[in-house]
């Protein structure tokens, strides 16, 4: 699971491998400091998520091509939108690419919910944020993912709302 979290949050194999190594080292080194107040898995996920976010920060300091460098948003969305069921393989690749377009804090919350299956209270503990913030980040993250993958770029003000 540690590698799976790392892969989804960092978005590529090399950074996921580095983050996984860093997380395992941190777990081994910090094991004697684990006080049992949280579940071990929650603590391990926290260590892993922090290792991933650290890796992403390091990556941002390194010059590298980005989506915005290489193609416009329109072509990016077009490339992500699956055209028929035969493109299942492409869709699997696209979810990582779409995740990569999310802000780090949204991505971490979505991954901890949908991949790991933590509830909002557990995610709040892992990310050290309020449960209400978890709810908002997951919703915003999923909303952006849905728009990217479906190709929907409708501004929010034009979207019909059922709010009274």
């Amino acid at each position: 699971m540690i590698h799976s979290i790392s892969r989804r949050i960092t978005g590529n194999d090399a950074d996921a491998l580095d983050a996984t190594q860093e997380a395992l080292v941190a777990i081994v080194k910090g094991l004697h400091r684990f006080d049992g107040r949280a579940r071990f898995s929650t603590w391990a996920y926290r260590v892993t998520t922090n290792a991933c976010l650290d890796e992403l920060r390091r990556r941002k300091r390194r010059p590298q091509p980005t989506i915005s460098d290489s193609r416009s948003d329109d072509s990016y969305v077009a490339a992500l939108a699956p055209r028929d069921p035969a493109e299942t393989v492409s869709a699997k690749i696209d979810v990582d690419t779409a995740l990569a377009s999310l802000p780090d804090e949204f991505r971490a919350a979505v991954v901890l919910r949908d991949l790991v299956g933590l509830d909002y209270a557990e995610i709040a503990e892992v990310l050290d944020i309020a449960p209400g913030t978890v709810r908002s980040r997951i919703a915003r993250g999923r909303s952006r993912l849905a728009d990217i993958i479906s190709g929907n770029q409708t501004p929010p003000r034009n979207r019909q709302s059922s709010q009274p």
Binding site: M1, I2, H3, S4, R7, R8, A14, L17, D18, T20, Q21, E22, L24, V25, I27, V28, K29, L31, H32, A44, R58, R61, R62, Y76, V77, K92, V95, L99, S101, V110, V111, R113, D114, L115, G117, D119, Y120, R135, I138, A139, R140, R142, S143, R144, L145, A146, D147, I148, I149, S150, N152, Q153, T154, P155, P156, R159, Q160, S161, S162, Q163
Partner: protein, 326 residues
Amino acid sequence: MTDAFSPDDELISAYLDGEASPAEVSRVESSPDLMARVESLARIASLVAEDVEPLPASVVDDLISGALAAGDVAEPVGGNVIDLAEVRRRRVPRPLLAAAAAVAAIALAVPALKAINLDSGSSSNSATAALDATTGAESVDSSSEPEELTQLAPASTAAAALESAAAPSADAASADSATPAAGVAPDPLAAASDYKSGILGRLNGPDSVGFDPLPDQLSPAPDLASLASEITLALSSTVPPAGTMPARAATAAITATCDQAISNYLDGPHPNLDMSSPVLAADMATVELNGAPRLVLVIRDAADHAVALLVDLPDCSNVVALEITP
């Protein structure tokens, strides 16, 4: 990309996760539009939840043994003094390491802990981290001289760092006298060797290939030029073999303890070392440089460029990069 977030999406997302209140549930289920959006977001959630391709067992082994070796390396004790008693006291107990191994294996969903050497730090002599090395690579010119010295941390000159390395500090002398109860005078070179052994364990995995150009301990060197000559001479006799460890994973393993100081170098500009190359080989040694103990980490890329990182232990306060050009 526009942010198409609708206020309803927070409600729908909470409903999907079973985190909505009864009133919110009623509201969602009474609206066909909202239920349609539930389906849409559920599909997104299922995509994120799809299994990630598992790592090969050999890579998992490398990661676990690397983490265990890192746990077996003493944490910095501060100051310029290496207190062996303190170093040993701070080591993670073996039972705890065993528990950590189990935890790491479970966390990585690996059914068996094969090829894990819990004692890897104590007996290994060779160090390897290489990938797809050019087997016909030419040797490093043994007559080459260091082209550049880079002082990394703290922000003082390389010369100053070397001066400090060359002369054991007054603190060290006072600490020697402060630990008579141990019955053994602190031996910085032995502690450096201890540290090196811990790191070596991280480089020796089931897929490792021998790359061991350096002796465990280099000859005492009066200055950097002499040290560079000895390193280049050692490298000239060994060609990095093909291996399987990605460069960044290898260097991450190497740098787990002195992570920040060495990573600052590895992540920064280093024209003499091609870090984008998938080919790296590494070896380590200890050396007494002008009377002061140093850990030497040599990294060599596919083009035979090599860098020797001289690490001042135990606090990694001085990391000097000695770049060697063929």
